[in-house]
Assembly symmetry: C2
Homo-oligomer: 244 residues x 2
C-alpha cells in the first residue's frame, strides 16, 4: 500500500466535507386515514417544495436525539412519540449543495395537534399518504420505504398501540390497522385475534362512556401490554403481487 492509499483510508479530512442529516417520517392517524408530517422548505435548494422534517446533526448529539429534536421543532411534540431508525441514504448528488448522508427515522404518534411551522420551515402540515405532493430531494423514496416498514412492523410488533391513546378500544386498534394497511378487516375475527395474542393488550376493567357515534354498545377499554413481539403475528391479507 502506498502513501496515498494510506491517507485515503485513514484521514477523512483529505476528502471533501460530508454532512450528516436526519430526516423523519412521522406518521399519525387522523380521521381514519394515515398521515405523514411534511414541511414546506423556506430555503434553497427546493425552496417552496414539501419535504420530510429534518436537518443537520449537531456536535455531541446522538442520532436518535437529533431526530427527536427535529421533530419537536416542527410539531410541539406532545410526549408519547415512538421513534426508531429506518435507513440511511448517501447517493452522491442527492443534495446539490454537497455530499450529504441522511439517516432517516420513523416516528409514530397518536393524533397530534396541528403542527406549527418550525425554525427552518415556512410551513408544516399533515398530509394523507394517498395524496402527496411532489417531495424534495429523494424524500419520496424515503417515505415509501418508511411506509413499508411501518406496515411490516404492524404485523409482528405491538406498534399499533403507539398510534392510539393511553387506553383504547379494540375498534380503535382495528382502525389503526385498516388505516396503515389500507384494507378493511373483519371486526369479529380481529377482535378475537387481538385478545388471543399474549401481552398485546390488557384490560383496564373500564368501558367507554357512551356507545359509538352511530350506535352500538359501550366498548371495553384496554391498554398496551408488555409484549415486544406478537405471537402469533397479525398477518396482512396475502399480497400476491409483493411475493414475486
Amino acid at each position: 500500500m502506498d502513501e496515498s492509499e494510506f491517507l485515503a483510508g485513514y484521514d477523512p479530512r483529505a476528502y471533501p466535507a460530508v454532512a450528516v442529516t436526519v430526516d423523519v417520517v412521522a406518521l399519525t392517524i387522523r380521521g381514519g386515514a394515515l398521515h405523514v408530517l411534511l414541511v414546506r422548505r423556506g430555503e434553497q435548494p427546493h425552496a417552496g417544495r414539501w419535504a420530510l422534517p429534518g436537518g443537520f446533526i449537531r456536535p455531541d448529539e446522538d442520532l436518535p436525539e437529533a431526530a427527536a429534536r427535529e421533530l419537536a421543532e416542527e410539531t410541539g411534540m406532545p410526549g408519547r412519540v415512538h421513534i426508531e431508525q429506518l435507513a440511511s441514504y448517501g447517493t452522491p448528488g442527492r443534495d446539490p449543495r454537497m455530499r450529504v448522508v441522511s439517516v432517516s427515522y420513523l416516528a409514530f404518534a397518536p393524533d397530534l395537534p396541528a403542527p406549527r411551522a418550525g425554525t427552518d420551515a415556512a410551513d408544516a402540515a399533515w398530509h394523507r399518504v394517498e395524496r402527496l405532493p411532489e417531495l424534495a430531494f429523494d424524500h419520496a423514496r424515503i417515505l415509501t420505504e418508511g411506509l413499508e416498514r411501518a406496515r411490516d412492523k404492524l404485523e409482528y410488533t405491538p406498534l399499533a398501540t403507539a398510534f392510539v391513546g393511553e387506553t383504547f378500544t379494540i375498534s380503535e386498534l382495528r382502525s389503526v390497522y385498516e388505516a396503515v394497511w389500507g384494507v378493511p378487516l373483519h371486526a369479529g375475527n380481529f377482535h378475537r385475534k387481538v385478545l388471543s395474542v399474549p401481552g398485546f393488550v390488557e384490560s383496564t376493567g373500564e368501558t367507554t362512556e357512551t356507545g359509538g357515534a352511530r350506535g352500538g354498545p359501550r366498548a371495553k377499554l384496554y391498554r398496551a401490554g408488555d409484549a415486544r413481539l406478537l405471537h402469533p403475528a397479525l398477518l396482512r391479507p396475502a399480497r400476491e403481487e409483493e411475493i414475486r
Copy 2:
C-alpha cells in the same frame, strides 16, 4: 429565528468535521457453523484488536458501493455476494478520533476462500459467531444486531439461498437454517415445508453425483426460485424469552 440558529441549521461547515464510514457484517457458513469476517486492526485506535471490515466512504461513491469495496479489499470477493443495509451508528465518542457516523451493511455469501489481509488490516479471518474475540469500537453491538437481522430475514425471505451454491439440496438449505438459528430442525418437516412455499426453490431435474458422506440416497438438486417473500414463512421455533 436568529442568525446563529440559521447557520446552525443550514451550514454544515460551521460544525466540526463529520466522517462517514461503512462497516460490513459479512456472514458465511463453514463446516456447518455460522462465521463472521473480522480483520485485525493495524493502526490506532484499537490497534491489534479485531474489528468488522470497513472504512471511510470516498467521494462520488454510493454507500452500497463503499460496502462492497471494503469487503472486496479484505476477501478477494468471489462474485455471488448479497449485500443489504443494516443500520447506522453515530453516538458521539464511538470513535475517539473524531465524530464518525457508521453505516453498517450485512453481506451473505456461500463458503468463501480464506480471506487475505487487506490494504489496511494486519490480518483477516472467519470467526465462529459463538466464539468471538473482543471487538473494537461498538462493533460487538453492530454484529449482534446484524445476526438478529439475518435470523429474522431467514424466516420470511429466500435469504438462505445466498449462503449456498448455485444449485443445492434441501439438506444443504436446512443446514443453513440450523447454523444461523442455532437449533436443529426436523428433516422431514423442513423438506415438505420448503417445497410447499411457492417460488422458494425450483427443481433442476438433477441429483447429486453420490449419496451423503455417511450414506443415504442421492438428493435432488434445486436452484433459487423467483420469490422475494416466503409465503407461508418458515418461522423459527417460538422463543418465549424474546417475546416479552
